[in-house]
């Protein structure tokens, strides 16, 4: 039984690490701010959740699992909010997505 849990934990951790790495490479490689937001989303949702679930499996039923669960819930709550506010601020101040044709912009901004 414990071997199965260990293998599962390893799989979750590996998947999570790969997600975090993909997200980071996306933040580095993608061309503009709005596309980089997507890459950051991978880190903050799937990467974080998979890694923390892997650690929870390693920890078993202890206080550690509860704390990890709280970390997971808090970041799942705050991170999308911060991203939303960031995108909102960027758009309001006037950063436009790369490659949007002029006729697709709202009327007042042409």
């Amino acid at each position: 039984m414990s071997v199965i849990i260990d293998i599962l934990a390893g799989a979750f951790l590996a998947l999570g690490t790969v997600s975090v790495l993909i997200g980071s490479f996306g933040i580095w490689r993608l061309p503009d701010f709005y596309t980089r937001l997507h890459a950051a989303g991978i880190t903050d949702t799937s990467g974080l959740a998979l890694m923390l679930i892997g650690m929870m499996l390693l920890a078993g039923w202890t206080l550690v699992t509860v704390k990890l669960l709280f970390v997971l819930l808090l970041i799942l709550l705050t991170s999308p909010t911060a991203t939303h506010a960031l995108a909102n601020a960027a758009y309001t101040v006037g950063l436009r997505p790369l490659g949007v044709p002029e006729q697709d912009l709202p009327e007042k901004e042409r």
């Binding site: 390893g10 690490t17 933040i27 580095w28 808090l74 705050t78 911060a82 601020a89 101040v93």
Partner: protein, 98 residues
Amino acid sequence: MMIAAATAGLLVAMLIVLLRAIAGPSLYDRALAVNSFGTKIVLLIAAMGFLTGRPEFLDIALLYALVNFIGTIAMLKFFRYRHLGVASTAKGKAESGL
């Protein structure tokens, strides 16, 4: 072993994101990178707790998860209103002229 590999992966990811925070052409890129850096630090602290066999260090990861948000919100507030004291309302927005 698995935790060690995960830690190494996190360190690489942190380096990449930090480079984006330094290079990032616009302020928003930098803010995004620093926020993402914070998430990775939370994961790193949790992983290091397992690595050293003392998972009670999670208290600090928990605190980061709470506090990182405040820093990001303050930066955004500053971007948008150039001022920290305005309320985030339509009224505050109108008054700040943005």
